[in-house]
Symmetry: C2
Subunit: 199 residues, 2 copies
DNA sequence: CGTTTAATTAAACACTGTTCAATATAAAAA
DNA sequence: TTTTTATATTGAACAGTGTTTAATTAAACG
């Protein structure tokens, strides 16, 4: 078969990312197969290389999709949140990871060698999550704080991330931890409380 | 070639773990190859399956070795530590990960499906790290604390781990974070300070 | 010594990711 | 409309991988 016109370039790209994302959700990063994605999309392997340049390119696009869905979930929860928006964030962080363990883990299992080579659209989609958290951290802090808020927000994300990754990977289950979300939230609250008083 | 007697079973096991650990340090988890380990050890692939039952068994043994080396490094630093033993711990955590990024990452990249099936010796080697931290957390807290110290220690480990994994994976570098160790230590100190006062 | 037992291998199988010449077809030019 | 050009698509080839298993050979035992 030679040139086809079943899909526009944009449609084809979308199709591959969608099928790839589904496969990732089904089997996870270690069992992920580019050939299988092509098979499901009704194209042959080479097409992935035409469209994304490499398998890494497809994987990056799949993970970016996960980032976007994750950010949407956080926004959704913030919109429905009561007073305690920080709790909504932390719970949303965990909830997404636990409801989508395989796609969520894939984000961290796929090491991007030179991250500068990520397409603009990918970088943007990924940054959103950080921005959402930053907004809420600003909101939780006194106006006249002398903290580097961006840096502080990243540190709180890292704190929650550490707890969350232990849960999803199963290390915490082994240690019979019953309330990892609670622990993560405790650490975040402790830190925020101190910085709220300090002003 | 049939049965050989170049190594005792124990020696052979040790040889494979050692070669495997070296290979992991050279190429990292994604490029790791059981066949290559066997090649370097001068045996054929099947031997790995004789000795460890599966490739996962070898990987578990390799990662356990990393845990043991890591724990040794922490103990070494604690022995030479001044007053601030918590800082020694956090710095030791990061230092080991940054000096051994590939073997350290492999610990978290190799998902063990049913962790109950880890050999006793592996479980023991891995638990040591947690115990070291627990000891120091007890030391840092008032005697009459009503905290669940084991659980609290795990939470602090998760906090540091979150920061550390961002550094090693390169996510923090991208965000121009200059002092992740400092951030992690800040979060740990904040929490400890509160729990020191609370008594 | 012969027999049993166990370690070791090589080959086979079914997969991977990646590259690339051949080709069929859509788009452009005549 | 016909011819030409450009390109999207494929399928095969290559070099790997993990895993299983029958055959082989050497050690251990009686």
């Amino acid at each position: 078969m030679g040139r086809r016109s079943d899909h526009t370039p944009a449609q084809l790209r979308e199709l591959l990312v969608q099928q790839g994302h589904e496969l990732m959700a089904e089997v996870g990063y270690p069992q992920f197969s580019g050939r299988e994605v092509a098979r499901r999309a009704g194209y042959s392997v080479g097409t992935i290389y035409n469209v994304f340049g490499s398998l890494d390119g497809l994987l990056a696009a799949i993970n970016t999709r996960t980032f976007v869905l994750w950010a949407q979930e956080l926004r959704r929860r913030l919109d429905q949140s009561g007073e305690d928006r920080i709790a909504s964030l932390v719970e949303g962080y965990f909830a997404f990871a636990l409801e989508n363990p395989l796609t969520w883990s894939a984000i961290y299992e796929h090491r991007v060698a030179e991250e500068q080579e990520l397409p603009e659209t990918d970088i943007e989609g990924r940054a959103t999550l950080t921005l959402i958290v930053e907004e809420e951290v600003v909101r939780a802090l006194p106006e006249n704080t002398d903290l580097d808020v961006a840096r502080y927000a990243r540190s709180l994300i890292a704190t929650v991330h550490g707890h969350c990754s232990y849960v999803v990977s199963g290390s915490f289950a082994l240690l019979e931890e019953t309330d990892p979300v609670g622990s993560a939230l405790d650490r975040v609250r402790e830190s925020l409380r101190l910085h709220q008083l300090q002003a």
